[in-house]
């Protein structure tokens, strides 16, 4: 479904991705973790070409992401992206937020788009907040609207870039719960997160990144109980003490 082939990226002189090779299968849930600045956000931002790459190739659903001939609208319509800072449109209600892209990109009639929007928002538990503006919602609710906005495009893949990092602790669970349900339904997901509980419970594989390299990828049981690399052990010892 998603394949990285020897992907390199530089920001100026800074080598942020150093030869990434990675395959994610359909319906697989993969968690990417690592210290900040390790390149994990950049990694998933490359998948829908929010970032360019300088070397290598990324293929999503048989489409070459960084090929100029690729129809980016079609590609991006297949990939839902959830940001750390939600990035909801503040001048639109929840329903307008989720129906904008289906109407403009998929050219779906307003009535049908609103039905889909209502369905998506109900799915994230916000069926009663259709006409609220983002500022009238809590952080957790805003992030769930953002997830619904992605789902409303009926994507094949959902990417999450630290979806709970900007949330107050008591709101993290409601967002993770939505993500758990998605995983159960067989959505292909890559999740950049520090929520190791989520990784252990939901993911099929956990990847550890450091200094732009994929150090270790393993199923969660193995990853947490028998990490192979010293760097992974060090990272886990820091993050799992509390």
């Amino acid at each position: 479904m998603i394949e990285f082939k020897d992907v390199h990226k530089w920001f100026g002189d800074l080598n942020v991705l150093k030869g990434i090779n990675l395959k994610v299968a359909q319906a697989e849930v993969m968690v990417v973790c690592g210290p900040s600045g390790s390149g994990k956000s950049t990694l998933i931002r490359c998948i829908n070409r929010l970032e360019s790459i300088q070397k290598g190739e990324i293929v999503v659903d048989a489409m070459k992401v960084h090929d100029p001939k690729t129809n980016m609208t079609k590609l991006r319509a297949e990939i839902g992206f959830v940001f750390q800072q939600f990035n909801l449109y503040p001048h639109m209600t929840a329903l307008q937020n989720v129906t904008l892209a289906p109407m403009k990109v998929r050219k779906i009639a307003r009535k049908e788009a609103e039905n889909m929007g209502r369905y998506s928002l109900e799915k994230v538990g916000l069926g009663d907040k259709l006409h609220q503006y983002p500022a009238q919602l809590s952080g957790g609710q805003q992030q769930r609207v953002a997830i619904a906005r992605g789902l409303c495009m009926r994507p094949k893949i959902m990417l999450f870039d630290e979806p709970t990092s900007a949330l107050d602790p008591e709101m993290i669970n409601e967002v993770l719960e939505v993500m758990r349900n998605l995983a159960r339904e067989g959505m292909t997901m890559i999740v950049v997160t520090h929520e190791m509980g989520f990784a252990r419970e939901v993911s099929h594989r956990v990847a550890f990144m450091d200094f732009g390299e994929l150090i270790e990828i393993a199923p969660p049981d193995e990853f947490f109980s028998h990490p192979k690399s010293e760097r992974t052990k060090l990272f886990l010892s820091k993050i799992l003490t509390h």
Binding site: R76, F83, N87, P90, K104, V105, A135, Q142
Partner: protein, 224 residues
């Protein structure tokens, strides 16, 4: 003594109203066309097209860095040397339109820049194309930043329109010049001129102030 002059001034009132109409015509046309052009240029300056961006940027800098009076003279006196003959009225409208477009361009650029980058990324990642991003996501938010200074700029431009009296456009300022030769009471004559400008500008000042208040509280701009 004053009564006599006031009476004379009253006789000239229709003349003043004609001048007022001319001021409104020159500024009105220039503001409408200048606003359209200014938005277009501002959007171009905020785009990814390097060549167009640089061209618009250079033009805006040239216009902002030279006196309006000189620009009016260039259009009216110097263009004819190159075979482009213009009446005073179209020359005035062209000069003021261009000036308006340049200042409005800068306001629009600032407005677009004020929209957080994450908004554009969210729009990009759902597959919206450039125009759809601009139309549905960026501009509605940018307008809140643009509107108050835009109306404020209108006030400045209406006042700048008095400069076109120098090439013989009979606007309110020109009417003042002509009248003061017959009614040698400068204070009275130009007091009336000032009053007429103020009558047009004051509602706009009020509008700008109230927009400022409305836009800063306004919607629901939560965490973005």
């Amino acid at each position: 003594m004053w009564g006599f002059y006031i009476e004379q001034l009253m006789h000239s009132l229709p003349f003043f109203l004609k001048g007022l109409w001319m001021t409104i015509a020159v500024s009105g046309i220039s503001l409408v066309v200048g606003t359209l052009l200014g938005f277009l240029w501002g959007i171009i300056r905020s785009s990814q097209n390097r060549i167009l961006k640089a061209l618009v940027g250079a033009w805006v800098d040239i216009i902002r860095g030279t006196p309006f009076l000189v620009q009016v003279f260039i259009i009216f006196f110097i263009l004819p040397e190159f075979g482009i003959q213009l009446e005073a009225f179209p020359a005035a409208v062209i000069a003021l339109t261009n000036l308006a477009a340049c200042f409005i361009c800068e306001i629009v650029v600032a407005g677009i820049q004020a929209v957080p980058w994450g908004q554009r990324e969210a729009a990009i990642s759902t597959g919206l194309n450039w125009y759809q991003q601009l139309r549905n996501v960026i501009m509605p938010q940018a307008m809140r930043v643009i509107l108050p200074p835009l109306v404020g700029q209108y006030v400045l431009l209406i006042k700048d329109s008095s400069v076109v009296s120098a090439i013989g456009v009979v606007d309110v300022t020109r009417v003042g010049w002509l009248t003061v030769q017959r009614v040698p009471q400068g204070l009275l004559v130009f007091g009336l001129v000032a009053l007429l400008y103020f009558i047009i500008c004051y509602p706009l000042i009020q509008l700008s102030n109230s927009l400022e208040k409305r836009m800063s509280s306004g919607y629901s701009r939560g965490k973005v």
